[in-house]
Symmetry: D2
Subunit: 350 residues, 4 copies
């Protein structure tokens, strides 16, 4: 099967197997009371600074919801984009677990704009209204676009001045760091992000999600929240070992770089085709285009992908093509050839 449906359609990167197998040898205390979990914490401190505290969880949805649960009271609210995964693709997990409201803002390019955010922060407390406490951004966004470091910093500063926090959904954080040619510390810690959902499952791990608190006081109650959130895995060492190697070996960078390059390659292949229009600039590993609707089904028969009119007002002929660490250039060539041929036939259909 060929797939551009999602980067989570990929399997596990070959370098990961020996890591998990080594960690699996012999007995060990469970639930993270082990040396692999200690190493993971140390490795993340190297990446995110000595104040950071890192907790593995099992799904990206859990990373987002529990990271927010660590700091939110139910009468408080989270501001996010209408198209945030948090809002659109988590089946209502935030509302159910947090008991809190998401205040959603329209974002044509996937990015929250500072002025829109500030307009949601009331001057005075009013008990009839939910009280914004956290702003959540996704980096890269759900449209594959990127916040610049300056934009993140401006958001964080404005929020901190008003007593709010900044959460970053980093389900594809490695793709963002590579695309911006920066580092984890510079993009996350130095810009003022408070809580990070660190995702690595989409970039080659069997299972590797974590919540990273950049300020230790925010992590105060998180070990309880994680357990109550049903995310305290017994064989934690098997997750921790993956995350450590992922950062230490540079696998994160190599995989993300490849995925980003494959998206750029695919986007380049679309340029000669005037009927296809990029819906958003290709800045990481996703390509969002509109194309003649008649082509979609035939193309999906060749390679799996999703239509992406996920919000009112989006064109029904919008599709998403995601590349991954294991995307093969040959498969993209094939897909482009298929696309060219289908388009040619479509042009000639009366």
């Amino acid at each position: 099967m060929k797939s551009l449906a999602s980067d989570n359609n990929a399997g596990v990167h070959p370098e990961i197997w020996p890591v998990i197998q080594a960690a699996s040898q012999g007995a060990s205390l469970s639930y993270g009371h082990d040396v692999w979990t200690e190493q993971m914490q140390a490795t993340f401190e190297k990446a995110f600074g000595s104040q950071s505290q890192t907790f593995a969880v099992l799904t990206g949805t859990a990373a987002n919801v529990l990271g927010l649960a660590a700091v939110l009271e139910p009468h408080q609210a989270v501001i996010c984009s209408q198209m945030a995964h948090l809002n659109l693709d988590e089946g209502g997990a935030p509302e159910r677990f947090l008991g809190a409201k998401l205040i959603t803002l329209p974002t044509p390019d996937g990015k929250l704009c500072l002025d829109d955010v500030l307009a949601q922060i009331p001057a005075a407390e009013d008990e009839h209204r939910v009280q914004p406490r956290v702003v959540s951004i996704t980096q890269p966004t759900e449209l594959g676009t990127l916040y610049t470091l300056a934009e993140i910093r401006a958001l964080a500063e404005a929020l901190h001045e008003r007593g709010l926090l900044l959460h970053m959904d980093g389900a594809r954080i490695a793709n963002a760091v590579v695309a911006l040619d920066t580092g984890f510390y510079d993009m996350v810690t130095a810009t003022g992000v408070d809580i990070l959902s660190f995702g690595a499952t989409k970039n080659g791990l069997l299972c590797g999600e974590a919540v990273v608190f950049l300020k230790p006081e925010l992590a105060r109650r998180f070990h309880f929240v994680r357990k109550q959130g049903m995310q305290l895995f017994s064989k934690m060492r098997l997750i921790a070992a993956q995350l450590t190697t992922y950062l230490d070996s540079g696998l994160w960078r190599r995989n993300a770089l490849h995925a980003n390059q494959m998206a750029a390659y695919l986007a380049a292949g679309l340029q000669p085709l005037p009927e296809l229009k990029l819906y958003a600039p290709v800045q990481s590993n996703g390509v969002f285009v509109t194309l003649p609707a008649a082509l979609i089904q035939a193309l999906q028969a060749h390679t799996a992908f999703y239509t992406w009119d996920v919000l009112p007002g989006m064109p029904v002929n919008l599709v998403r093509w995601m590349t991954a660490f294991d995307t093969q250039k040959e498969d993209l060539d094939d897909f482009l050839a298929q696309l060219h041929a289908a388009l040619e036939q479509w042009r000639n259909t009366p």
Copy 2:
């Protein structure tokens, strides 16, 4: 490190690695839209009957909580033992996710007694009281004891007559089936259990938990509940493949049999020691004994284990020794030798 602390201190069984690796080859749709998940469903139907519906989740706490969430309204309640994992060891996850009350009953041997359960079921609806909807039993119990098939059947029948459901926490279900020399179908489906938490992580899998609904109508909303419960794993095929092989290859039986035999071996080694008293009969893979308190710390330095005075009224010198699929007879001999020596010294201490 040597451990009798928990069967989840073991790693992954060697037969499992090639299974996960094979499932990881190439691309596949995520979130369970894959052939491995279909195979898992088919395999579980062979074990639990053609009406059963099986959904993988990531932790045992999630299996319990979400299995209950599938059938519970918040004003309804769950009846369980005071020492149920659900009540004692899940960090309040049931209350937080279900918004419902656990009605807990004292159970000296870990087993709910039918009369005590029936005493909790009111004759008439009263809006001031929570309404029992599900009774949850653990098999084997948290004390390693077992319900007989007749006991399970009697509970199920009495509950069904009153419009209630029976849930079984089967975190160690293979150990129970082996100990009772029965089968999954006979112990679970034929006795009338409605919802099963099927656990395999403790018995050799990297990660393998599932909720099995024995009546399809109970599963109606579960795919939503699982997603909202943050347990819809993207690379689901990697879990499904493990669970299929686990059942198909008989690994479940071999591993559980060994663990149970090791517990029996350990218990037999205690018989000559009058200062040690079994707190519960050894019926599966746990040994619960009281021993001179002065010995505990020295023994723990040799082999990890927990004291187990988890409820008021339990002796402070109660300990739990769990065996697993990878417990070595030599290690038990060593441990027994250590125990004998420590005891000898203790006897001679004035």
Copy 3:
């Protein structure tokens, strides 16, 4: 103090005191097991049809949230206007108690439009997305506008065809019925509304809110939901007696008619003033106007009222003037005189 801030700034209508006092005589079983509650049910059946079931609660927020809780599972969602009281003014109570998401739609005139609603109902179930189950409309809306009976009927029919339900927030339902010159049955039952929040506190009662289920099966679990929602008042007869008299005596109509007439009178008085623009047509007992911002504070010193730029994009000089059953024409004349004078002075300020 003079107030156009809200119709809940009024006290209790004089006809209500003897009713509560009579109901308070002697002992009675509590929690609604009394004859006054039976009478209330019978009276509401006369108004809403013999299939209706009516339950008193204590606040309008509770009527909305608990009415929805009666029919919602947490993975389901409610569609409502962005400016719905449910979304904007209930402090996150829906999310906290329901654990469910509100899908909010922009509504320039306060009214949900059928096409926008239908665009939110997915063709197929997708576990990543919340599933719309109820659409909530407010009648009259938060801008004082009205759905016609045909509009309500069209919504209900379209929803029922798709397996969804229609909820009506009737915090000011009497004002709507009077304004449309119709009846409760015709506006609510005959149009196909499923659940109604019936509000009477704003229209002269000491405390009189209720949830009316128009189809008995929807009320199945409500007595439990109300208790769990902390709304089961012990001296229920004192609420029930008010609601019965309110409907039986025609007080609802007299009070609402007066309030609506006062709003029309106020609006008429604004017509000669070109600087004041109606933001929405005056159809019930609220007047929403934009006026020179410089006037607001001085006017508020004379008569209490709120500015109403409650959503991004609303003009900052928008204000809300609500009339009530006790609004005096003389007070409006006074207020208009004040307004004229302030405006004259403003015009002459360089």
Copy 4:
């Protein structure tokens, strides 16, 4: 109808009507932004000390649940008696709204014992276990018994030393203060209680419940919690005025004294009857007795009351007789005569 079923079977005390009617005159800002609410706060400061903060709510269940919600995180737990109203009679409202566990302890006389409480407070944090944060006692208890001031003080001190808080469910607090011949300050503030549910509806008000925080920092988020808990009443002044008069006029004391005296009178009338046994000492306004089961139904036909075998192990022939501010000595004489006659007949039945 004659009733000993509950003190909430009584109506409103005559002195209360003019108070509510006066407060209802004219317009006033709603939701507690009014002078009556200010007066209530000042009056409660006189009773409970200048640090206290008082918030009216609408039901006793809400006072309990929301008072706890003000200080609890969901992974934390509340310790209370098995027979606490909080546990037994609130329909699961605590679990639903708090998302937290109640740890319940057996209490033969209704009173939590310090040693039992301390046994529930773990020495170290363990994420698998809920973390006790608040202990809730009821004064008088659900069996009408009383904690002495020394007992309350000892509990509070022990809890504060361990970082926990003490909540008092004072649904009938006036009866306790009168019975102990003390004052609100001495029984609540001076003993170290942190949060009080102050109930007055059972003692003569139309509606008068409040949460009193004895330490202002605990009230920090309560105005949001109350709104989210659906308890922010629009015509708040009508509640506030009642509560102010209730304390200021001494009505609380007169009513409670009468109710307590009536209970004592009833209990005295039982002494000559050897077949009736007090189940708990009569210390406030409740009489709990066991009597020949055959008599119950006939007596209930004369005067309403409830059987009270509310927990496993309680005798099925236990009944509860509650007196109230409006209980008439003549009615008790009648009831006792009825009882004597029924008993006489029963003795003579072969």
